[in-house]
């Protein structure tokens, strides 16, 4: 199993968001987590990406733990292990959060430049490949404000894929798209799964759930 999430519990103060959630995702699989608005889908993705801390539970990717339970209390990994975990998971935010002052290509190159784990040529090559795969090669020098919602989303996907994470998460990928672009996003997501990524998609969009043909987990009642 690529990603194993066990016994996940999260509240904000007195408000319980989710309780005892369990799921696994393997290489090439798509897990669709569906649920109505306010059921904690975004919070769950934020916990997987360590933007939010769990109350209880354990999460691991390829055997490397983000956190595990010790005596009923959650214990997070050491700094270096957290860094390694981060590179193994990516997130495409609901509103993409592109860097508005950088071109599409600069958005893609920022993380590899910081991590300095590939040569300039390698990162250029990978950026070009991803932009081509997502059919936005002609937009590499465009700023986010010059792109349509669907194109911005592709830049966000490409940016998340630059470091080739094992797991990629999508938060409501169809929420800001029109009919036509909606059909394309499920193709893109399936394509990434076929290349061997483990994909987690959270959505309240039942037609997307059908199109993705993945395993389905329902949150809430």
């Amino acid at each position: 199993m690529t990603l194993i999430a066990e016994n996940l519990n999260k509240s904000f103060g007195d408000t319980l968001v989710f309780k005892d959630i369990f799921f696994t995702v393997d290489k090439g699989e798509i897990l669709v987590i569906k649920g109505k608005s306010g059921q904690g889908k975004t919070t769950l993705l934020r916990c997987l990406n360590y933007l939010e801390v769990l109350d209880k539970g354990s999460i691991s990717i390829n055997g490397k733990y983000l956190c595990k339970d010790a005596d009923g209390k959650v214990q997070y990994a050491e700094k270096e292990d957290l860094k390694a975990y981060r590179l193994d998971i990516g997130l495409v935010f609901q509103n993409y959060n592109l860097f508005p002052h950088m071109t599409a290509k600069e958005n893609l190159l920022l993380a590899p430049k910081f991590l300095d784990n590939m040569t300039e040529e390698e990162m250029e090559k990978r950026a070009k490949e991803l932009l081509a795969q997502l059919d936005i090669s002609d937009k590499e020098n465009s700023y986010p404000y010059q792109l349509s919602g669907g194109q911005q989303q592709r830049v966000a996907i490409a940016r998340a894929c630059m470091l080739n994470p094992s797991v990629l998460c999508f938060d409501e990928p169809t929420s800001a798209l029109d009919e036509e672009t909606r059909g394309q996003i499920s193709k893109i997501i399936k394509g990434l799964a076929n290349q061997g990524m483990a994909i987690i998609v959270v959505t309240h969009d039942s037609s997307l759930v059908e199109e993705l043909e993945g395993n389905v987990l329902t949150m809430g009642k």
């Binding site: 933007l51 935010f93 002052h101 920022l110 991590l115 700023y143």
Partner: protein, 216 residues
């Protein structure tokens, strides 16, 4: 004409002071203020509180009083007390004062950036420092440029406060010549010099703002 024979050389000397105070304050206060803004927003409550008090004092008392205190009063303070020269006192007072004002502008600017920008950086594995320098700060600078520009122009005029320590800037030059020849002309002339400096600065500030207009 005799008026100008006296006024022009004195103005040139005064300009060294006016522009000197202006430049050293600007060059040192802006970077310092970014650090102070970060400290003001520090998770460490004590640090945030101390920096808050510093900003409160700097913004809550006249710069004139601060100049006087640093030159005449600071060496009476035990342990840290130090007798600054006139020029040192001027530099210290202006830098402390303007750093406080600039830092509040930067704090507002940093807070105005969507947390999603930091979260996207975090998820991509960037360090906090790298994310601040490459993602947050460039966007902050674009947003704060108009407010910084206002302060920069105020700073030009504030340099005239150095008279309180007996240092001769361009306004002091006007006063000396005016007293000698019993005429108001030097004041009008120096008023035009200020306007000229501000005109040049406005142009420079507009250009800097335009540089950041490549995105929305």
């Amino acid at each position: 004409m005799k008026v100008f024979n006296m006024l022009l050389p004195m103005t040139m000397e005064g300009l060294k002071v006016t522009l000197g105070v202006f430049l050293i304050t600007l060059v040192l206060s802006v970077p310092l203020s970014i650090i102070v803004a970060k400290l003001r927003m520090s998770k460490n409550k004590l640090v945030a509180k101390i920096v808050g008090i510093y900003i409160y004092i700097m913004r809550g008392t006249p710069l004139l009083l601060q100049l006087m205190f640093i030159f005449f009063g600071f060496h009476y303070i035990p342990v840290i007390g130090y007798a600054f020269s006139r020029h040192q006192a001027i530099a210290v007072a202006f830098i402390l004062n303007y750093t406080a004002y600039f830092s509040e502008i930067f704090r507002g600017g940093i807070n105005s950036i969507d947390v999603g920008q930091t979260e996207a950086s975090t998820v991509l594995g960037l360090s906090k420092r790298y994310s601040f320098m490459k993602v947050i700060l460039p966007q902050v600078i674009k947003n704060v440029m108009p407010s910084i520009g206002n302060e920069v122009i105020t700073l030009v005029k504030d340099t005239s406060l150095v008279y309180i320590l007996g240092v001769a800037d361009i306004l002091k030059a006007a006063k000396a010549v005016s007293n000698t020849y019993s005429t108001f002309v030097p004041y009008i002339f120096i008023g035009l010099v200020y306007l000229l400096i501000v005109a040049v600065l406005t142009k420079v500030l507009d250009n800097v703002e335009a540089k950041f207009n490549y995105y929305r």
